[in-house]
Symmetry: C2
């Protein structure tokens, strides 16, 4: 009997060369390139599911994917085989057999993104595909005050472009700090609405320019907020850092223990 | 009467798209691109001199250049005009009128380079043009012991590929540290021989792999060293961070003061 298992992997990619994560008929996408590599390495024609559908230009250091396979290659060999079939701008960082039915999007409980801003008079060169260039000096204390308001469970309707059933999300952490000429913004939430991270960044930058203050942000977070965030920070400053699955690990371990007891 | 002045500028570039700094007839070089921009912005057909002739693939955050110009544009306007004529992979970071006769190579007293190593099992993606991928774990303590031996004034003949009149150079500092999966090596010296930084990196990596120890490095630094360093660390891990001119500043200020007293 052919054994089918679910494989879970962590993926790094440079968003510059992709029209986003999600497969499209005539564009180069991360999902498309990964499915081609899975086919080449295993012979399986399977869908590769991702934790988040990152937009065109958005990078990832820790996107999580899953796919089903009949391959008998052990995890280490499968990782090397996939990387041998992947182009230079995407790589599998680690890979393991997952609990049957593991769904990287539905099972995720925490997503962490980082946004990079280069704040200097002249355009950056070495970080030009990794950071948003902002010429004006940003007031970090004001950015932090605005950020503090967004932490917690709020209605982020004003921060999205799409139409969602529920627009309530819980932001666990939102940190802003500086390293030389780089301003780093790191945000963790249970989930994000379409364009939500980049519109939070726009809001923080407007706060840093003293165009809005924490009270304005509070007003935007009410369900009856009449205005929408204008402007979306550029995609190339954004990186999906990691996705967390605390419950899945324990569920898988429970299953394995149950199987061990039964066998 | 047309006034000719010497302009000094700090330049950032991504080495990936250049066949090194030095002008060549049929290759894209940093010097060639800069001279084209100077011509376009000022009309002057002048040589752009650089502090260091970085190799093909080597990056710079703080290369220093100088050129003569008859342009009456003030420094800020000239900076913006040059950047408007430069491609995305090179930019002028700052610019000022220099002492007449300022020579960025001859007048430099300190050069600082940084080398980045990504030490992890799988090849890096986002830093693939900025860091050397080393799969094996490196022993940082051993790298530091080897580095300590190289600090000071030594004969670096075993560390160069070219033929130089004198192969004695003074290394002011050589630091090795880790940030997550990145190992950073920073080296400051009065000057460097051809390929010297990259062969020092090769030596440190060999020490980190326990192939050689500090005593072997000491032997390599003697004038009678019979062996040469085998292997040169890849160019794309190397970045020219900055060049220092402590005496030039004071010389220029003295000149200006003398002129002010005279006028």
């Amino acid at each position: 009997m052919t054994q089918v298992r679910t494989v879970r992997a962590t993926v790094e990619y440079d968003g510059a060369g992709f029209q986003g994560f999600q497969r499209q008929r005539s564009s180069r996408t991360v999902q498309g390139v990964l499915e081609t590599a899975v086919r080449a390495a295993t012979g399986d024609d399977e869908t590769v599911a991702g934790a988040g559908r990152t937009d065109s230009g958005v990078h990832a250091l820790g996107q999580v994917i899953a796919f089903r396979t009949q391959s008998r290659l052990d995890d280490g060999t499968l990782l090397r085989a996939l990387n041998a079939h992947l182009p230079a701008d995407v790589a599998i960082r680690d890979l393991a057999t997952a609990a049957p039915g593991f769904d990287p999007r539905r099972d995720a409980t925490v997503r962490v993104y980082e946004y990079r801003i280069e704040q200097r008079p002249v355009r950056p060169v070495l970080d030009r595909t990794r950071a948003w260039h902002v010429g004006k000096t940003l007031d970090l204390a004001r950015m932090r005050s605005a950020a503090a308001v967004m932490v917690g469970s709020h209605d982020f309707d004003a921060f999205t472009a799409g139409a969602q059933v529920s627009t309530r999300r819980e932001v666990f952490a939102l940190e802003v700090w500086r390293e030389a000429s780089t301003i780093l913004i790191r945000i963790a939430a249970n989930a994000f609405l379409y364009r939500m991270v980049r519109r939070i960044v726009t809001t923080l930058v407007r706060a840093g320019r003293c165009e809005i203050d924490a009270a304005d942000v509070t007003a935007l977070l009410t369900p009856a907020a009449r205005s929408q965030i204008r402007g979306t920070a550029p995609a190339h400053g954004l990186t999906l850092l990691r996705v967390e699955y605390p419950n899945v690990e324990s569920r898988y371990n429970r299953q394995r223990m149950t199987q061990a007891v039964r066998s």
